[in-house]
Structures are given as C-alpha cells and as structure tokens.
Amino acid sequence: MKVLVAIKRVVDYNIKVRIKPDGSNVDIDNVKMGVNPFDENAIEEALRLKEKGIATEIVAVTLGGSINQDVLRHALAMGVDRAVLVESDAVLQPLGVAKLLKAVVEREQPSLVILGKQAIDDDAGQTGQMLAGLLGYGQGTFASTLAIQNNEAVVTREIDGGSEQIAVTLPAVLTADLRLNEPRFVKLPNLMMARKKPIETISANDLGVDASPRLKQVQVSEPPVRKPGIKVGSVQELLEKLRTEHGMDLKGNK
C-alpha cells in the first residue's frame, strides 16, 4: 500500500518570530526553518508502516517555493521513497493546500494520507480535515496510535478529557498528534545521500486548481503584554497578596 505524507516547511519552534516593520507580516527572512514537528511524526509513522511490511511506498509532498526542497531532503534522509514538490510562490492557506493536495492524491492514488494535526506557524489545524472532506474519505484526526487491519486504519484519537478509538475505511486521511511516535534522528550520511536523490517538481498551476487565498492578512501585531508581575519572598507573602489584592479567600478544603 502506498502512503502519502504532506509536510510543511515552518520556522523552527525554538525561534521567537519577529514582525516586519510595517506590521504587514512576520519577518522570516534568514530564520532557521525545518519540517513542521507534527509532520515529522507523520513521516515516522509511514516509515514504521513500511518497516512492518504494510506500506510499500512512501511519498512525501510539500507545497511552496523551490526553497522547500530542504524539507523534502530531510524526509528522504529519514527514509521516504519519493519526494514531490508542488511549486507555488502564491500565499497558501489550508483550503488551497487541501485542494492542491487533493489533486496530488488523485495522481498518486495512495491508500493512506498522513498530515500533521496542525502547522506550528499558522496554528490552523484544518488541512487534513479539509482534504478528507474534498476527497470524500473518512478521517482520523489527532492520532496517537495507528494500526492497519482489514482495510481499515484503527486510530486512537486525542480528544477533550480522554481518548477514543475509531476505525476508518481505506483510503483515509489521518492527522498526527505529537504522541503518535518519536521521530528518528537523521544521520549525516543519510542526509548526504538524500542530496543526490531526485525531487519531482510539479507546478501548482499545472494541477488546474483554484487555490487562491480567501483570507487577507490585514495586520500582524504583538499580543498585549501582561502587567509585569512581582517576586514574592515566601509562601506567606504569596497567600497574602492573593487574598488582599485579588479577594481570593483560599480557605482550603479539608
């Protein structure tokens, strides 16, 4: 069975992103970029399916400028079989990404598509569900475990206050929670080898999809700052502040 993994190139999660002086957008020139963390979980899970003899071919796909080749190299170094760049310099938003990915799914015909549950830059958490809806496939979102049994993906999903298990008929779309697995480290020799592997490039325009953005970003701004706090010297002082300045009685249950 073929598995397609969608990966997004995002700012490294350790970096504090700045705003452009005119407030029109974030300034990510010359900032460290990498594979969206949840998408690494998606790649890792696909690799494990292959190691178990369930998956036969893993294709990684990313949408964006030619600079996105670096995240595909990373995926190749982790062990995916093929890498596809859908090249576009346009602004991409989840609905547009889902439409382009749908076109890729129609070409590649995978049994399973795995995405990250959210991208850590836009924090949208939409693309997988949108893709599943457009394809008319079942969806298994926020997956923390996965097993393939009898033409179904059996998924544990992280939900509010607990978890649930569902089975989704293949072909299906899944989105990976960080809990799904621990992604492997990429070894340097693998990275060197991945540099020599081919990357297939498709122009987004050739997919015949209207992926134009529906949302216009008006402004990017700093969140309001919290009133600076103070340091207290003892637990007694802490309780006194909470009681006198915030009217908390903090009587304490027995």
Binding site: V11, Y13, K16, V17, V26, Q93, P94, L95, Q118, I120, D123, A124, Q126, G128, Q129, M130, A132, G133, L134, G138, Q139, T141, F142, S144, V154, E158, I159, D160, G161, G162, S163, E164, I166, V168, T169, A172, L178, R214, L215, K216, Q217, V218, Q219, P223, K227, G229, I230, K231, V232, G233, S234, V235, Q236, L238, L239, L242, M248, L250, G252, N253
Partner: protein, 310 residues
C-alpha cells in the same frame, strides 16, 4: 440570514463551550440557531433552547449519530450551511475535528481559534503558539470559525427557543466508533476549573507529581495540569497537558510549579486571571507571564504552601 452554532455535549450535559459560542455569535446581531446532532438529544436540545439569545434549535437526531463521527456531522452542516452567514463553535478537539471538513464541503475558508471578532468579517487570532496576533479578513459568503472560549462571556439561561427537527443525511459509513476512555476524577474538569495547579518535568516521577501537587490542588478545589515534558516523561496523563498541543485553560488562578514557561505551554494558560509561578531559576521565562513569582525549590515551597492553607 442567521448564525449557526454547533453544539457540543458530554453525556446528557450541554457543554459550557456552547454558552461561550452563543455569546460570540451575538456579535452579529442576527438570529442565532444552535445545531444539536446526536442519537438521543432531546434533553440537550432543550438545554440549548434555554440559552438566552438563541432563536432556534435544530435537532438532528438519528441512530447513527450516537458518536457524532466527523463525516456525518460535517455532512449535516454542509446540508444546511448555505442558509447561514456564519457557522461557529468554541475551539475544542470536537469542533476542530468537524468544522474544517464542513468548511471545505461548503468551499469556504475557516478561521481557527478567534480571539476577537471585529466589524467587516475581520478577526484577530494568534499565530506561532500565541507569540503573535494576526488580523485577517475573510472574503467568503459563509464565515466558518472557532472562537477562543475564554474570550467570550458565558451566555445566560432563561431563553425559550423553538426546537425544530431536520432530515438527517444517511450515514457516511467511512468510519466507525470503537471505544472511548475518559479519565474519571473527583477533581473539577481541567477546562472549567477555577484553579489549576500545573507541574513540569522537574517533579521527577509520577509518584512525586501526585504526592506534591495533588494535596495543593485538593486544598484549592482545583484541577491538575501538566507540561508536555511531564506528560512525555509519563508523570501525568495526556489529557491534562496544557498548551499549544494540549488544552487551553483560563482559570481564576493558575499555579505553575517547576514549569520553564516555553511559549508552547504559555499558549494554554496565559489568559488566566492570576498566574503564580514557583521555579528555582530566577530567569525562567515563566516569570515573564506570572503575576507572582516565587523563586524556590518546589519540593519545599509547595508543601509549605499547602500547609499554610490548613
């Protein structure tokens, strides 16, 4: 045109999320409808009908909706969505599963976790784990969004809306529910607790996490929370992870114990009314969001604090 709110519930109880969503929906000054989908939801529908400001409850009842799979729920919203100007819910694992799919079926964008609704289909939301705010304007005919619950008041009860049925589309059959596990606890639910005591990796073990933090949470009638590092280390269960990839809370009082204060964590708690941090490192970033910081060894400070409450 009207506004549609997607209802969420737990057992026979309508979730507080719905009351937040209804008050957000009132921003538009249009009639607010609430969609209650499920297999046996008469009581949920009447709770929704009793929310002030709700004009109509649409009850989508069918045997196959017992576990409200995303394919079926999104199908229902897509079937009636064209009648609405706005479709919204409070941001939660439930709504995040369903609404993006419904938006795609309606061929419109979705705006996730909206902090502020402005005039002219314009919204402010956070990006980069809450480190920045982005204001976006939507060009779509139907606005689909989730709102950040704690930023919108709880709508009051005392309303008396009509409850209407609807023809439910057939089951999609693309997925089936197997089982669920909910954490049983006599503590208040994390999402709605007035006090949250959260611990980090520095607690050292599951036993110490429980032994040090539980007595304090109990004394304060609060819930326990945890960082991802604590959850990954097996000190605390998944469900109580606070942050970008966990739960977002906004209690009256949040006590962060041995938590460094990574943005991925503060995303989930920085809207709390009063934040207390106990950390032995005076330069820990958590002190930048804390109203009161205590630089101390947690293994001494927390038991001392608990004892003071006696």
């Amino acid at each position: 045109m009207s506004i549609l709110v997607l209802a969420e519930y737990e057992g026979t109880q309508l979730s507080p999320a719905v009351y937040h969503a209804v008050s957000a929906a009132q921003t538009w000054n249009l009639p607010v409808h609430v969609l209650v989908a499920g297999s046996n939801v008469a009581s949920i529908a009447s709770q929704a009908a009793a929310i002030q400001g709700v004009a109509q409850v649409i009850k989508a009842e069918a045997a196959h909706l017992g576990h409200l799979l995303a394919e079926d729920a999104a199908g229902i919203i897509a079937a009636i969505g064209k009648n609405y100007q706005v479709i919204l819910a409070t941001h939660s694992a439930f709504s995040r599963n369903i609404l993006p799919r419904a938006a795609a079926l309606l061929d419109v964008a979705m705006i996730s976790d909206v902090l502020e609704i402005k005039a002219g289909n314009t919204y402010t939301r956070s990006i980069y784990a809450g480190s920045l705010y982005s204001t976006v304007q939507s060009a779509d005919a139907i606005q689909v969004l989730t709102v950040h619950g704690s930023n919108f008041a709880l709508a009051a009860t005392g309303g008396n809306a009509e409850v209407m049925g609807m023809d439910v589309p057939a089951a999609s059959g693309k997925s089936r529910w197997i089982s669920a596990s909910h954490v049983e606890s006599d503590r208040p639910a994390l999402g709605t607790a007035k006090v949250v005591v959260s611990g980090g990796r520095s607690l050292g073990s599951a036993e110490k996490f429980e032994a040090v933090l539980s007595p304090l949470a109990h004394k304060l009638g609060g819930a326990l929370g945890a960082t991802r590092a604590a959850v990954d280390a097996g000190f605390a269960p998944n469900e109580i992870q606070v942050g970008q990839s966990g739960v977002v809370v906004a209690p009256e009082l949040y006590i962060a114990v041995g938590v460094s204060g990574a943005v991925q964590h503060t995303y989930g708690m920085k809207e709390s009314k009063v934040i207390v941090a106990i950390n032995q490192d005076p330069d820990a970033p958590i002190f930048q969001v804390a109203d009161y910081g205590l630089v101390a060894d947690l293994f001494e400070a927390v038991p001392a604090l608990t004892a003071e409450l006696n």
